[in-house]
Amino acid sequence: MKITKTAQAGAVESSDVLITVAPNPEGGIKIELETKRVIEKQFGQQIEKVIRETVEALNVEDVIVKAQDKGALDYTYRARVQAALERAL
């Protein structure tokens, strides 16, 4: 399944994340994470894994996922990525 437009879900608020998804003309799933350096160092791989798993579970291809993190937990990532992708279809 391919997304057709840019869409967002979530918020730049404490414990949340603002997810922006857009079609990726170069193909594949590209993840851009914006967070505190310490968070990226400790949890960056886990966050990317959650985002990738959520995208793949929805069978979405060729997408850029930008995450502006404010300390969100895994469940929030799953919910916000899913919402953004559904809005972009």
């Binding site: 929030t76 919910a79 919402a83």
Partner: protein
Amino acid sequence: MSHYRSMLIMPGNSPKRLQDASVFNPDLLVLDLKGVKDEEKDSARLLVKEAIGFMDYEKVKIVVRINTLESGFGAKDIEVIARVKPAALMLPQASVEKLQDVEKILAGVEKEAGLEPGKILLFPVIETVKALENVSSILSVSTRVVGAFFNADGLAQELGMTRTKDGEEILYARSKVAMACRVAGLDSFDTPYNDGNDTEGLEKDAGKARNLGFTGKAAINGRQIDIIHRVFA
């Protein structure tokens, strides 16, 4: 599910508040989809679904206040939320017909998802004049109905009432809901006390609700829970 003293209502689109809510140890935690802005309802629905699956709410029972079916959001709420098995769904602006419609959709989702039939319970919200006059019929629509929540703010909006702290204007409505629930042997939750900083006023108001026959009270602020538990001990 019976004889709970408190229900804490939290907005369903705030991860921070969803995470913090169980700290206050309410008997029931109501994750609210109805109060969310229309353009965020899809996102809130997914957040609540994921939160229920992810978080350890320990002894707190999870209830989800869904949107009405006529809003266009309610059926999807049931479809998505029932699959993560909350203890109950709360139905705003309840009526006999609306409860029957919700039960039909819920039974369909349970069957499709292989869930135990009838396990997800229902809390109708009594917040319209019609619901108030038919409250006994609403309570007996389904065996899933385990209690009712009286929302005075909804009723006040319909009637153009001005709410006061002593609640004289809602005496009849409160008495009617509390008595109907007593007759049916179900839990009844009084309307929240809207001033989160007035602990003395809350204690007085909760005592009044208890004396009218309510078995518990709703809260919109976690700090209200201890007082409610003390009054309804």
